[in-house]
Symmetry: C2
Subunit: 301 residues, 2 copies
Amino acid sequence: MNLRDLRYLLAVAEHGHFGRAAEACGVSQPTLSIQLRKLEETLGVTLFERTSKAVAPTTACARLIGHARAAVAEADALLAMARSLRDPLAGRFRLGIIPTLAPYLLPLVYAPLRAALPALEIEPWEEQTSALLERLRDHSLDAALLATEVDGPDLTSRELFAEPFLAALSPDHALAARDVVAEEELAADMLVLADGHCLRDQALAACGRSGALGGTLRASSLPTLLNMVAAGYGTTLIPGLAAGAARDAGLVLRPLAARAGRVVRIAWRSRFPRHAAVEGVADVIATRLRSFARGAAAGAV
Amino acid sequence: MNLRDLRYLLAVAEHGHFGRAAEACGVSQPTLSIQLRKLEETLGVTLFERTSKAVAPTTACARLIGHARAAVAEADALLAMARSLRDPLAGRFRLGIIPTLAPYLLPLVYAPLRAALPALEIEPWEEQTSALLERLRDHSLDAALLATEVDGPDLTSRELFAEPFLAALSPDHALAARDVVAEEELAADMLVLADGHCLRDQALAACGRSGALGGTLRASSLPTLLNMVAAGYGTTLIPGLAAGAARDAGLVLRPLAARAGRVVRIAWRSRFPRHAAVEGVADVIATRLRSFARGAAAGAV
DNA sequence: CGGCGTCCATAGATCATGTCTATTGATCGG
DNA sequence: CCGATCAATAGACATGATCTATGGACGCCG
């Protein structure tokens, strides 16, 4: 049994006439006659009482036709929905973002993304790198904004922009008097984020330390960390996009001598079919942040 | 798009594995792969993200799959219902019966019909001949029990049994003293049914009258007619099966000299597909009434 | 790190079947 | 009794579903 056969059945029931039903279905009358007879044979039920005068549905047909109508309607609904889902630049797009990036990047790119991809319903999801990678791999995210390389052939990534780190100091810190701070000078009293944040490892690596100091307080979020530094508990190293928030917290920011920084990338499953959506999002973010990256390259933030 | 394709889609979504899905569908893996790819092309939507490791439905697929499931379920329901409708000796059977027959025949044949055709749900419909023929022709009845021949090639009929008429008299009527009454003797004061009852015309014809007497009361039903005769308003001629009811009404019954009577037939549309049901019903009634017909032929009721 | 197994995609051949045009048969009306 | 109408049938044709065999990508394991 075929959906086409059910459409033929409905057409004959509606028109009560093989010729007109065939015309409505866009086929010849013999075709419709044959197919309907085959349907009757497969069902084992006579569907119509045929006369040269009229074609009347049997009672069996009357009881079956509701299901036929429902099946055809569902198939048509599926086709219509497929048409609306056809655009890869439309629909839900679940985008993971690491916590040290989300609060500072999203406000910058949200409006441009809406403007460039109006049909794309971006759902941000904030979590640490490893969790995002896991969610990418189990298909609960479509793409993720990270500050690390991704490994494995199942994932692909594209560089979006370079984000320089900055030394963040309380105004009364000794280094606050300097124009430029060398990364190693921060090592002595640097505060870092909790385990799992990629920024923690990158900050430690930038100033030549392999691990955090024993007993060092580990902030669970960047805003917390900024407040700790502002309160004079130590120094830290922040990503450039957080500069505004850091200044608002009353911190003094200084460029780094060796220009340590991180590269923000977008990552996705290599086989993810809506590649166009990923590229679209990536293009918008890269374009929006181009000036920022240029400024960073010039050493000015 | 095809119901088969939708079944393939559901199988792949369920198993997450082309090979096992193909096995479940009873086809080879390449077949399923090709058909699914074609489905993706016709829909314009990628349905699965394929890896050698796993096959994951896309978000678009997740939204479409509900409709696919519904369409397939409706089709399956249709097939299941068709299976149950396949037996022509099962299901509703709308049987018209003329009013001068129904109350006396139905009690005789109801139980035998239930016993012989347990799956046939017979729905009796009591109306006069012309209305029954109309309903037969417009498909609102499946068959009808009549006491007249039917004309036209669109209808067919089969004789079931012969039903003799009897003279019905009030006990104090002059003719009640006789053993046998000649049909013509009833003509003088015979009461008849209202227009439209075939019994009316047949009774008049039997006693040689072309029309009813002027001012004669025309009962709208046979029970009413019996009571009128019992009350002494005249004589009448009743169908044999009504003998019991007539005696209960206090009437005297006498056989007719010329053995006037009527033939009860079952009629149906020549193209009616459930011919087996008609034959089944006809056989049961003819068998049940065979003794009656023999008795009638022998002159004893 | 190289063979091996798993899994989906592709190629080419084959077979089933849906569709067409032309025609027949049945039925009805003038 | 003849012509019109309508569904069924016949035969040719083309599409398309399916199969087996094979290729290519990937992960596993010694």
